[in-house]
Symmetry: C2
Subunit: 234 residues, 2 copies
DNA sequence: ACAAAAGTGTTGAGAGTACACCCATGC
DNA sequence: GCATGGGTGTACTCTCAACACTTTTGT
């Protein structure tokens, strides 16, 4: 800044945008990657579906705000959540300047609670392949979140976060296939996932269902989520 | 939100944090990865070095604000810049709640302009391996930026962004070695980078310096920045 | 015994890694 | 002619990808 003055350093000199967090909540339901949306009650975009989110409280960290929104919508805490991107184009909210810090969360279907106060029409799960019209720039945020999720699945082991604590290898492979949108070879998948040593056997076997019972696995607490792939420049 | 009202939707209901952008500006200078810092003139952290940044204007996009800060400090436009992460822990600025959207930029040394209005003590380049004391949580932001830069170098070809328009393969290899912090094999590096087809020969040769003149290359405009590496799950 | 899902090995191809010498130029 | 940096090829290893049959259980 060539003509810098103390006024440039004063936060109160500038009109402040509002800050929100939006949380893209993914789960695997009915063999589809689905996202939780809420129907807005008030303008703008009244009766239009939107990504759950809200304003950041003045003394609350961004992560806490995201976790709070997630808990309000799903009753779930302690699941995988990470910052996605910050969207702040002027005009994305017609009322005023709003900058939103988007997060994405992976929630196993079995821990989702239906909140007692909810009436059913307020929130809903939607398959990513069949989304309704969305408020604001939320279509862009969802597209970005899906790209990031697919990408992360390729070099980390976050896929587990969408499954119950214990699961079979076939269930895990299904989850990967759903998110990546392509079929995987069973033998190669098993060899690779077991070689990465992020799983441990429970010793139990799944009893329900037809056919031969499958070994149940759990994700190892001490496993490193980042699985090193080959680098472009070694 | 179980007890959602229209008030929850009103942006003016909540006290608003300030929003800044901070731009981590990297360049290769004297065979080191260096970062541009500015010395603060006013409290808090007066006379302490900080990442260049400033408040986001109310009608300016985040990207524009970041590009503006970059241009103000370096006189440079049209270089590589990407959003890094948003830092918003309460108390990171002692005056008031400030959320900062951090960007990082890669600037070739040869395009950096010394701005006429600057007195030399105001801004300075610092090697990442020898940083001064930093204001706010800027040490954390720099560490995160370096991690991201190294990581990106492994699966994209952003390394070119730190070099002049035309360069020799040895210069490019040096750049990668500096950032990754390890020596690379000359033959393997050349084979790999040429195989990725992101370069084209200029036909010219570098004349200055001792030894055999080196072929000069440029980055292909039509090259895809993302170089696919092998995936964890195919 | 048969239906259904689980589980298991091998081979060929391609990429990665390690490694040492000749080439073009300036002085 | 020698010092300096530029440029090149090959052999081994490892990972990836493709592919089909046997095993265990319930009915």
């Amino acid at each position: 800044m060539t003509t810098e003055t103390i006024a440039d350093y004063n936060p109160n000199r500038y009109e402040r945008p509002s800050i929100t967090v939006d949380v893209v909540i993914f789960s695997l339901i009915n063999n589809q990657l689905q996202v939780l949306l809420v129907k807005r009650k008030y303008p703008p975009f009244a009766d239009i579906w939107a990504i759950p989110g809200g304003f950041v409280r003045i003394d609350e960290s961004l992560e806490d705000a995201a976790a709070r929104e997630l808990a309000e919508e799903t009753g779930v805490t302690n699941v995988y959540i990470e910052q996605l991107y910050t969207f702040g184009t002027p005009g994305r909210d017609p009322r005023t300047r709003v900058v939103t810090v988007a997060y994405f969360a992976l929630v196993p279907q079995d821990v989702i609670k239906h909140r007692p106060g909810d009436d059913a029409s307020e929130t809903g799960w939607f398959p990513m392949c069949n989304l309704p019209e969305l408020a604001f720039d939320h279509d862009e945020i969802l597209a970005y979140a899906q790209t990031r999720l697919r990408y992360k699945l390729e070099y980390t082991s976050v896929g587990f976060q969408l499954l119950p604590d214990i699961f079979t290898l076939t269930e895990l492979q299904k989850a990967y296939e759903i998110i990546l949108g392509e079929a995987l070879d069973k033998r190669n998948f098993r060899r690779k996932i077991l070689a990465s040593e992020v799983l441990e056997e429970t010793g139990e076997k799944k009893k329900e269902g037809e056919g031969r019972p499958a070994m149940l696995y759990r994700y190892r607490d001490d496993a490193v989520a980042e699985v090193k792939t080959r680098r472009l420049f070694p």
